[in-house]
């Protein structure tokens, strides 16, 4: 931790020590974000945003700059809502019918969802690809990831209420939708994260992170190993949510969400065959591995009696096992199982305790059984065990473990015995250390089987990748047959299981008496708790994100962290007003956009007069916290690329469907449809500050590095765009000055000045139209939005 924050850490952790875990600290009680939303009163007949902003401005003694001119506002609005440059007819509409008319038209257009859906994909850490070893070429593609992206775009375009949007993303499977409902794709929100080498603890951690940071601005993942250092989030809460996701799994056969066309039928047939193959292998392996484990009871027990736990029994899950090896995880469960029962008086493992646990270290001999016989009888030790121990009294450790194995296996093989039989149930049934859930079979397979199984599973995806006509399938979750009952992992270590906790919502919001989730895994309950109007965070977090994308700056500077570390926003009243409006307006974003862009606040100029008091205000409120002017913004990767395609007349507006590589020369579609890579990230993507899909992104960084300039100067993409822009004008106007005007209008949406005409004309004479067009594409004027 940095020294800057040290005093606070000390304070909070001291409090945390003094209070029982989970009780909100004094700090938290007063924290602005944890209070109920309190929208300030606003007089009717005036624009509420302006009233609230003006109040603050007045208190701070700041003056506002005037409204921007219409072309500036039109350009700003088009980038805000569509991420595309304005078309002449859009300017015309705004001039003729007012800016509101343009707003309506933009909100009704499907390009709106492409822009705002992409903002959400940053939060959702969306990628089209897998990560891990040997994930190249077709192997790296998640063939149906795009269904989530398309679902998001559609949802924004439909102005789907955001509470419903959240509910679908967490639990569309539990909303009684038809089996092929396109909304099932919503659960890509939970299934599209990184793969963490298939370590489910990390996968769940990522799910907890995206849900809590993305939806509520809470960094719950910080409570994985210890109670949250700043916020009132005990480790118990982390594992309550862990239990929700550990009780959910991805089905092998993903539900189909569109009707296959004729050319997609072949895929369907092959897919079903492959699914059957996967299921068959899984089930065979499950049965045989458990049977093998039972037959090796003697080996497991000997290990339990004579060795210390090895780290790979609990934390290394990718061993290259050979068939004859015992399974470390099963050994681990045997250790726990025996340790819990090897007590004096236990009817099965009482003798184990007396014979084995008290012997001197490194000694192989065991005490004489006769000494204990009377006590064993008295405590009701199972007769079959007693018989075995008296028939051939054990002398060495191995004798004891073999006697136990013989008796246990005997009972397990005797089908006449009830499953409740204490010996039989040691090897048969879910409580047995030899049992594991079907879905975890993979962890127990021998290397060659495991490779084969993985190949089969991978084959499902590869088949889909290679079948462009395959009907879409959704990347869903469903509740596991056996729900997982979470326990706290002490210090975040699965080898150190601690207190059990219920699957339930965060105590910070639901209170210390938070009721356990009642429905299955609890994903639906979780969604309801997150979107409850009583939850003070969700609407605020959302309103803040929306504001950020309209103004370039959020009201709360840490959009995914509203915890104690977050600064109380200057405009808290405004934030609360927006959050309240959002909830009362049925969680609809479009009305929020309307409200925001119709305000004087949003419509201010970004140009600052060089007179007082504005020159002073540039110093006193340099960050524009009080919103006395508009923030100039730079085009992000998508807007830049889409703009270059649009102004050069090359933009392909086809929506939805499978993605194409951004580096492909034929790819002229909007950037939101380009493959989002996780591993080999193309230079253009990382150099232009694209959101890393490794985890949920709160806001993108804005860096200025020469690699960006190199892209503008030398990349094929920009050079081709420049050429296309130049040739777009060519046929129409041979006159040099008029042609310059034409290129200006296409690239920058304005007339050149006389001076610019002259400069351009001189340059064209020496270097031609292509290179001239490229210069315009490289200008700051194109790159920044006033």
């Amino acid at each position: 931790m940095t020294t800057m924050t040290l005093p606070r850490i000390l304070l909070v952790s001291a409090l945390a020590l003094a209070l029982p875990a989970g009780r909100p600290t004094v700090d938290a009680d007063d924290h602005w974000a944890f209070q109920a939303i309190q929208p300030p009163r606003v007089p009717s007949g005036v624009h509420p945003i302006d009233v609230l902003v003006d109040r603050n401005l007045k208190a701070a003694g700041l003056r506002t700059v005037p409204r921007a001119n219409m072309p500036t506002l039109v350009r700003r609005l088009c980038y805000d809502l569509h991420g595309l440059p304005p078309k002449p007819r859009q300017l015309e509409l705004a001039v003729r019918k007012g800016l509101d008319a343009l707003t309506e038209s933009l909100l009704a257009s499907p390009h709106y969802g492409e822009r705002w859906g992409r903002h959400w994909l940053d939060v959702a850490r969306y990628a089209d690809t897998k990560d891990g070893v040997l994930m190249y070429g077709d192997n790296r593609i998640r063939p149906f990831a795009y269904t989530y992206r398309d679902y998001v775009i559609r949802s924004f375009n439909q102005d789907k209420p955001f509470d419903r949007f959240i509910h679908e993303q967490l639990a569309a499977d539990q909303l009684d939708l038809p089996d092929d409902a396109p909304e099932l794709a919503a659960m890509g929100f939970l299934t599209l994260g990184r793969m963490f080498d298939r370590n489910r603890h990390d996968i769940i951690d990522d799910q907890i992170d995206v849900v809590t940071r993305g939806l509520m601005g809470l960094t719950v993942a910080c409570a994985r190993c210890h109670d949250h250092k700043f916020d009132p989030i005990p480790t118990a809460d982390y594992y309550s949510l862990y239990g929700v996701f550990a009780s959910s799994e991805e089905p092998v056969d993903r539900p189909r969400i569109e009707t296959p066309r004729n050319d997609g039928k072949k895929y369907e047939a092959e897919h079903q065959l492959k699914v059957a193959e996967v299921r068959k292998m899984l089930s065979n392996q499950h049965t045989s591995l458990m049977a093998t484990a039972r037959s090796r009871t003697a080996r497991y027990l000997l290990k339990v009696a004579t060795t210390d736990p090895d780290i790979n029994e609990t934390s290394i899950f990718f061993l290259s096992l050979i068939p004859k090896q015992i399974r470390p995880q099963i050994l681990h469960r045997w250790r726990l199982f025996v340790a819990a029962r090897a007590q004096p008086g236990d009817r099965v493992f009482g003798p184990w305790h007396d014979l084995l646990t008290r012997r001197p270290p490194n000694s192989d001999s065991v005490p004489d059984s006769k000494r204990f016989l009377a006590a064993w009888k008295k405590s009701g030790v199972d007769q079959r065990l007693l018989d075995a121990l008296t028939t051939s009294p054990p002398r060495r450790v191995r004798d004891v473990t073999e006697i136990y194995a013989r008796v246990l296996i005997g009972a397990s093989a005797d089908d006449r015995l009830p499953d409740s039989d204490p010996l039989r149930r040691t090897l048969i049934g879910k409580q047995s250390p030899t049992w594991f859930p079907l879905r975890q079979t993979w962890y127990y397979m021998s290397r060659t089987d495991k490779d084969k199984y993985r190949g089969l599973v991978r084959g499902l995806d590869i088949l889909a990748v290679k079948s462009p006509n395959a009907a879409a399938r959704a990347m869903t979750l469903r509740d596991t047959d056996e729900l997982y009952s979470p326990v706290i992992f002490r210090r975040g270590d699965p080898t150190l299981p601690g207190q059990p906790v219920p699957r339930r919502f965060l105590q910070l919001i639901a209170g210390p008496k938070s009721v356990p989730f009642a429905n299955g895994s609890g994903r639906s309950d979780l969604a309801r708790a997150i979107t409850s109007p009583k939850n003070p965070l969700t609407a605020r977090v959302l309103a803040n994100r929306v504001w950020m994308h309209h103004f370039g700056e959020p009201l709360v500077q840490t959009p995914s962290d509203f915890g104690l570390q977050s600064e109380r926003p200057t405009q808290l009243g405004l934030l609360d007003f927006l959050a309240d409006r959002l909830i009362r307006g049925g969680w609809k974003l479009k009305s929020l956009h309307r409200l925001i862009v119709s305000s004087r606040t949003w419509q201010r100029d970004s140009l600052v007069p060089t007179t007082k008091p504005f020159t002073t205000q540039l110093v006193t409120d340099a960050t524009n916290r009080h919103l006395w002017r508009a923030n100039r913004r730079r085009l992000d990767l998508e807007s830049l690329r889409d703009t270059l395609l649009a102004v050069s007349g090359r933009l392909d507006l086809k929506m939805f469907g499978r993605p194409t590589a951004i580096t492909s020369p034929d790819n002229r579609r909007r950037t939101v449809y380009a493959i989002v890579e996780r591993q080999n990230i193309p230079d253009v993507v990382r150099n232009f500050d694209f959101a890393s899909p490794d985890c949920s992104t709160a806001r993108r960084q804005v860096t200025t590095v020469p690699q960006q300039a190199l892209f503008m100067l030398n990349s094929d993409f920009v050079i081709r765009s420049a050429k296309a822009l130049a040739s777009r004008s060519e046929s129409r106007d041979p006159d040099k000055s008029r042609r310059i005007g034409e290129i200006y209008r296409m690239a920058l949406r304005r007339e050149p000045t006389e001076d610019e005409r002259e400069l351009g004309s001189a340059f064209v004479t020496n270097h031609g139209w292509d290179r001239f067009s490229q210069v315009l594409l490289m200008t700051n004027e194109l790159m920044f939005v006033d």
Partner: protein, 470 residues
Amino acid sequence: MSGFHPLSTSAGSRRDALLSLGAGVGTLALAQILNADTTALAPRPAHHRPRARNIIHIYLNGGPSQVDTWDPKPLLDRHGGRPIPIGNLTTERETGVALASPFRFQQYGDSGLWASTVFEKTASRHADRLCVIRSMHSNTPNHEQSMRLMNCGDERLSRPSYGSWLTYGLGTENQNLPGFVTLCPGLPVADFSNWRSSFLPGVYQGTYLDTRKKEVESLVANIRNKTLPRDAQRQQLDLLAKLNRRHRETRKEDALLEARIASFELAFRMQLEATDALDLSHEPKSIHKLYGTDKLHGRQMLMARRLVERGVRVVQCYHGDVQPWDSHEGLADAHAKLGREADGPIAALLTDLAQRGLLDETLVVCGGEFGRTPAVEIPLGANRKPTGRDHNHHGYTVWMAGGGTRGGMTYGTTDDFGYRAVDNPVHVHDLHATMLHLMGFDHEELTYHHAGRDFRLTDVHGRVIDELLA
């Protein structure tokens, strides 16, 4: 170029921008970013006076065997073919009896450093420069996890590589080149995650260069304009500058506009310099001969030297595609061959760095992601002979040279058979802490605020091994 703040998230204040970015570089660097005209890659001072300015990491990917290179075990050889009395430790695969080393060991230099014939040239010429850590250990016997641990300080989670941390902390000395370059013929296991920037800004990611290719364009994307001569491009930039200045007339307060104007000038200069860095043709014959540039590893080492010479902070050189040192079978031949490829160029690099006075300020690190088992591996297939060693994370060797390390020493020991680090064990986190220390950073203070907390390369671990410092 005054007073701009390219790390800013918009026209907001630098302070806010930094807070939102997580300014944990330390107070000095913070002040630098706050006040200076800089870019995300501008050079910044470290926490303390650095001993090393650059790192060259020779990455013998796949896991070289410690007991066949730098950690002789006479007892292992004596037990060859018989069970190891202390028992076998768990690694990825089942292992059997002791496998004696097929390589001869001898002592070198005034320090009497032990080395096998695999690294004969390096040892015979540079024994007294090497600081050999024989007690490295890590967490898991698997390549991908151990690769990421060695590079990023975590096995599975997305964390920035140490090269990204250093570039974030120090900026890049030469604005015309990336601060962190990765050289590999092909791709190592866990590929791009080995040099990722993760939650740090993308500019800090390692620039990967496939050294099987020879064209310099692959160093920096778009480094060359295929159609436009340089003087024509200059004129293009002049027109751009004029237009941008007019645009800026009414927007003078906005530093981001100026930053972008400057970045075009920088890019223009970068085209020459970056191209030159990898162009080996200007090197004298003697240098080509020294490195053996007729072979890939020689070329790669020479490139590394040219890059650090030009101010690239971190250069990683991977031995080869996937995991060449992964000798599960036929270890005797495989390790001998790998040694023939790597040994000469490594010795040449050290010689060359030393003769240029660069070794003092360049930390050379050499090793794999783990070592190998002293016991023989039992092959999966029934009819295959046991002739190799399995992965071993319990104990292995990494050596360093130059950059403020003590030469001619060994540190730490493994047990009598070379299985587990027993005396003075050095975890990868400790190695990282020490590397950062040599580069001028307190590993606990080089932090970045992300997802609600401050992250660092060594997480909650790591200690600087003082005994390794000169």
